[in-house]
Symmetry: C2
């Protein structure tokens, strides 16, 4: 499954690289080019497991990935990663272990960059370091919002939050095709699959959205926003 430089020739010319790389010079991008692998994952395949060593920095170049923590009996999905974004494992700077797992939700391609090369560039290019810290900070802020949603809102509010996340951040359109399962929806919102389905049904009955199979359209954004905010 791992083939070195199969289809992408060089990161310099790559037009699907994450925007954190915008601060890198051509020579620096060459360094990354020479150390990277490109990999294909089929839907459902695990990209890495929580607890395993973390020698690569993973950039998703196509498809959709879920990152999740394997907890006590059930999983919590921290978020979805779509092209062109990367998966930052906080373990890179701590114990070199992954602290969450990642699995392909849709068929995916990814670039794997050697962590040491990445860390060297962080040290050598302050603009790159700043951009990286900014990304990590954004991640942290998102986590805070998620924690509040998960611990202080009731189920309708949590589902509303997840629907906004999907339509605004992931699929970026309003009628959208769910590529994740109801179980994933439940794992994103910290509830049982049955509860997630029930809330969606209630939203349908209230006219907030339509849902046929996996085709979902939010009809009343204002009311959904209200549901999200009232907790």
């Amino acid at each position: 499954m791992v083939n070195k430089n199969t289809f992408a020739s060089n990161c310099v010319d790559c037009n699907c690289k994450s925007s954190i790389f915008k601060h890198l010079s051509h020579p620096e991008l060459d360094i990354i080019s020479n150390s990277k692998f490109q990999v294909v994952y089929k839907a459902g395949e695990i990209i890495f497991k929580q607890g395993t060593p973390s020698p690569y920095f993973v950039c998703i170049t196509s498809g959709l990935v879920k990152i999740y923590i394997e907890g006590y009996g059930k999983n919590l999905i921290l978020g979805l990663v779509k092209p062109v974004d990367y998966i930052f494992g906080p373990g890179i700077y701590v114990d070199n272990r992954h602290h969450y797992s990642a699995a392909a939700v849709e068929d995916c391609t990814a670039c794997l960059i050697d962590v040491n090369v990445f860390k060297r560039l962080i040290r050598e290019n302050p603009d790159f370091a700043d951009e990286f810290i900014k990304r990590v900070s954004l991640q942290a802020i998102f986590n805070f919002e998620q924690v509040i949603s998960l611990t202080q809102k009731q189920m309708p509010g949590r589902i509303a939050d997840v629907l906004f996340y999907l339509s605004e951040k992931i699929y970026c359109q309003n009628p959208f095709e769910l590529s994740i399962t109801r179980q994933d929806l439940a794992d994103l919102s910290g509830m049982s699959k049955e509860s997630a389905i029930r809330i969606l049904k209630e939203f349908k009955e209230e006219g907030v959205l339509t849902l046929h199979g996996n085709h979902l359209e939010i009809l009343n954004i204002k009311q959904l926003r209200h549901i999200s905010e009232k907790g």
Copy 2:
């Protein structure tokens, strides 16, 4: 309340500085010295509020501080900060706003360092930057564990986690004197004050701990660990 350089003369000689500063040279520490303020807070006072601008990097030099998110009707305490540690607001690199509030739990002294000075040093000293990213990563990992505890464990497991956090990370001794209220205990473990009290009572009845007023001793660490792990 703000007095410039009241009691600490110079960061170079300060023996109570956070270990992230160990990578800074004397001239660099001088730069920090010249831009810092020292401040005293009384127990209960708010150090900064969620949503306000974030011009300072705050180091706690004595006392105890809680950092918390103000949610929907109740607060969630993300953690406690004790000397000599600092409060890293992720907003520094994003929107220059605080994304959580901080308040003194015990009487406190703190050093306020200008954020721009701090960011300049991050750019100029890669060792310092690495150490900083490492700290941010540790924070993120801690957050993950906290989210799992809050969303997937039942109340006894969550209280157990908080008790370990207090005895191992904050007070660093086993019979310890609680300086936080029961409400804070509840906000740390994401439950109502009444529930927190009830769980503590159950632990007392099971012989896991003793609690007289605010004097708490964990008697059966093994069983408490078991309660934490079984969820």
